[in-house]
Symmetry: C2
Subunit: 258 residues, 2 copies
């Protein structure tokens, strides 16, 4: 199904590799009349747009507010009202750190028909390329996703209240470049100093870089280029896979003892 006139498609652009777009996102991007995109959406994806499509950057770079949220909302509404098929293209998944609430509410208020198309968030691209299982039967039954960008409205939020639970993988989006400060927050939240830590920069793109470290050595690490994701937990051991499966297979044990 191609992009329909008068509709807005809030579309997940995935981690950056055109091959990691969903089939539906690829089709919408390549048929839309207008594509409004974030700064993080790279050229190889924008090159899928029709040659005669309006391709408009509405990025809000850290600190510099080139386009306000209100301006973006108005631009989407105007384009849809003019009968254009509109893709609002966000990196990753629109519903995870994508500020989708504001845009959806504005479109709904104006009764513009819209649809949300999920995407592969950078976290999953990082996990896949680094072969880090985010959950593991033996060592991590939970996944906690946080942001290091700790401003909500006018408030500054703590990274976490109290102690992190055991048995979890922790993923931090936008960890910033002050690893000393981050290390302090992590230690305050009860993570042990030897907790394995994996930093992945530009996950799922050609420019991906990564480094394995630990909480105790985090402050010595030279920050990798943004956007980065920081993963923490036993699943992030460089050899977690081999280590875990070297442990006795509980299925076999059940079979023997039953």
């Amino acid at each position: 199904m191609t992009a329909a006139p008068g509709w807005v498609y809030l579309t997940g652009g995935g981690p950056g590799d055109p091959d990691l777009l969903t089939v539906r996102a690829q089709r919408l991007i390549s048929t839309a009349d207008a594509v409004f995109h974030d700064d993080l959406v790279p050229q190889p994806i924008l090159q899928l747009c029709r040659l005669d499509a309006a391709v408009i950057s509405v990025g809000k770079r850290c600190g510099k507010k080139s386009t306000t949220q209100e301006q973006i909302n108005q631009a989407l509404i105007s384009a849809a009202r003019a009968g254009k098929s509109v893709v609002r293209l966000k990196s990753g998944d629109p519903m995870l750190y994508g500020r989708a609430t504001e845009e959806l509410a504005a479109l709904e208020r104006e009764r513009i028909p819209c649809e949300v198309i999920p995407g592969v968030s950078a976290l999953f691209a990082a996990a896949a390329s680094m072969r880090v299982a985010l959950t593991d039967r033996l060592s991590a039954s939970r996944l906690i996703v946080l942001t290091g960008h700790r401003a909500a409205g006018e408030r500054t939020m703590p990274l976490w209240e109290g102690a992190f639970p055991q048995d979890a993988t922790i993923a931090i989006y936008m960890p910033g470049s002050d690893y000393s400060c981050l290390q302090e927050s992590l230690l305050d939240s009860g993570l042990s100093r030897d907790t394995p830590c994996l930093i992945v920069s530009c996950a799922g793109t050609e420019r991906q870089q990564s480094v394995h470290t630990t909480v105790t050595a985090l402050h010595c690490q030279i920050p990798l280029p943004p956007p980065t994701i920081l993963l923490l937990g036993r699943t992030c051991e460089p050899d977690a896979g081999n280590g875990v499966t070297a442990m006795p297979d509980t299925e076999k044990i059940s079979a023997i003892t039953s």
Copy 2:
């Protein structure tokens, strides 16, 4: 790039709609010599396989262990050793509740080249179709992903230790059908009785059903058909979008006060 002989591709099959496969997954599935798939991968996706491909179900249905993990590992290794291009197709994303660790470790031990292809996990399909932002600038800076299936090896795990943090969306995979028991665990973990709750069954498929409720009314709810995902938090209000954006825009406030 098509599937290469002797390789195993641990591939995310997404929530079930072929349009929500990644472009890469679609290409691998439609070119592989052999596809080993979980029970949850539906026919419309399996129909993408080559007509002469070996398409083998290795599902482990709740309780019934039709195929053991060791048998799956051996089947993947044998097929790759025989020079076949092999897709190991899992629903959702392979790294989130996909038991990827065991299969990756087995392949690595045998030096079989393999690659992990991320996918859209059911949670993101649920969020997109229900227009629930998993994070929100004003009400949820964190996402906590849990499983209601609380057995890790021989142990039974509590749902959560202590109190859930404020300012989070909570997603529970495999919540089971005992909503009374789940309600008790949620209240024990400090969630308020009026916390909005959204149950989504078969997210991202034609059979999707959903119901909005609250923690206090959860035990009255007739369980929806599995697989289900339960979402909790302020972002799950039926009208969260409109409610949140009706609040003052902090960008505007900054502009006025600065």
